[in-house]
């Protein structure tokens, strides 16, 4: 493995750890709002680091851009969903 692949591998593992942290938070945190906090780490950092790692070692600009697009769209969708659920939950006893 060359240096670039090492960096990519480290990014991928770091991303996976954020997925793990998010899942642990989802299971351990006490209420919906703090669980939401855990979920957003997965969408932003978890998927973000994963995309970065995969883009680095893909060696193709087209693939890297597509991965970036997937991440941006996932963030827009996830942020909207998180906001809607939080807003709805805060308006209900």
């Amino acid at each position: 493995m060359n240096a670039l692949e090492w960096i990519a591998a480290i990014l991928l593992i770091a991303g996976a750890l954020f997925f793990f942290a998010g899942t642990v938070g989802m299971l351990r945190f006490p209420d919906a709002f703090s669980r939401l906090h855990a979920l957003t780490k997965v969408d932003n950092l978890g998927l973000g680091l994963l995309v970065l790692g995969l883009a680095l070692q893909s060696g193709s600009l087209a693939i890297a851009l597509k991965l970036l697009l997937i991440w941006v769209l996932a963030i827009v969708a996830a942020a909207t969903g998180a906001y809607l659920v939080a807003n709805g939950a805060s308006r209900r006893p």
Binding site: L73, V76, A77, A79, T80, Y83, L84, N87
Partner: protein, 315 residues
């Protein structure tokens, strides 16, 4: 060295069975529906492992997206949201034993059946002419089994007619509340979704994708707009929608019949303009499938349900 693929497959299959089981046994139907959405995500992964990316794409759009939205939407109209097993103990035991035995027998047959079968693979991967279509699934759908696909569109159309016979479109008169982020987000996402639909339609000739996936994505875009309250009153575009609904069936039929005058068999394609014709048919199919899914989502008796009404005015 452990075969990691086998680990992945077994873990996925077990999770899939567990989610299926809990979907169908949870007393709380809302939980059942959410589990079914998770089931759709897991099915997408299963298709990927079965080397069926075409199917995975449709499942991602329909199983993990549209079906969930449909079920949640229907659940809102039901007052009875709990469901229990409703059967005597003796019959329950009989049903359990029989279904378990049948599942065992079927699994045994699957395990012992010799793994030889006639595959379409060889003829499909060597196209008879230079059609330019290299995605084997698209070839099956539009060339080898075009008759099936045509009739499948008719079935889809029948389902829409059936649903619309029950209700007309519900009005979308509900004002969007101020806090609502869904409408602006839908405006941002809409161009992306439409672009993806067009890309999948185009990609279908050579890569996984095609009319069914693009149509599902298109339908999802419509459903998102409707949920965000961005669709105008159905009365203003009813005619367009009806034309869209029948476009796939009609274009397909027209192409299928017109080629007869060129001396070709029914639903055959001329050697020269195959790709253009297939793309034309696929565009029609995409519109039809998208409109059908949106139309099925819209044919709900929203105004008749008191519980929905109360919630609508409260929010």
């Amino acid at each position: 060295m452990v075969n990691l693929y086998l680990v992945f497959d077994l873990l996925l299959a077990l999770t899939l069975m567990w989610v299926g089981w809990r979907t169908l046994t949870s007393p709380d139907l809302f939980r059942g529906v959410v589990l079914f959405i998770a089931f759709g995500v897991l099915m997408t992964l299963a298709w990927v492992r079965l080397e069926a990316p075409d199917v995975a794409m449709a499942e991602a759009a329909i199983g993990a997206g549209l079906t969930g939205a449909l079920l949640l939407d229907a659940l809102a109209d039901l007052r009875a949201r709990r469901s229990h097993q409703d059967i005597e103990v003796s019959r329950l035991a009989a049903v359990s034993v029989i279904t378990l035995a049948l599942a065992g027998v079927l699994s045994w047959v699957m395990l012992t059946l010799p793994a030889q079968h006639a595959s379409m693979h060889a003829p499909v991967t060597q196209p008879p002419n230079a059609s330019g279509i290299t995605n084997p699934v698209t070839l099956v759908l539009l060339v080898y089994r075009a008759y099936d696909t045509l009739l499948e569109m008719a079935v889809l159309l029948l389902a829409v007619i059936g649903a619309r016979a029950l209700h007309d479109e519900a009005p979308v008169g509900r004002a969007a509340p101020q806090y609502d982020l869904l409408a602006p987000a839908a405006r941002v996402l809409l161009p992306a979704i439409l672009l993806v639909a067009a890309y999948l339609l185009w990609a279908g000739a050579t890569r996984p994708g095609g009319a069914f996936q693009a149509g599902a994505v298109l339908g999802a875009a419509g459903v998102l707009l409707r949920l965000a309250g961005l669709l105008p009153s159905p009365a203003t575009y009813r005619r367009w929608m009806q034309m869209g609904l029948v476009s796939g069936f009609m274009v397909f039929l027209l192409v299928g019949v017109l080629v007869i005058f060129a001396g070709l068999p029914w639903l055959g394609y001329p050697a020269t303009h195959t790709k253009a014709l297939i793309l034309l048919v696929e565009t029609g199919l995409t519109l039809s499938i998208g409109m059908s899914l949106l139309s099925l989502f819209m044919s709900v008796p929203e105004q008749r349900s008191p519980s929905t009404h109360a919630r609508a005015s409260a929010s």
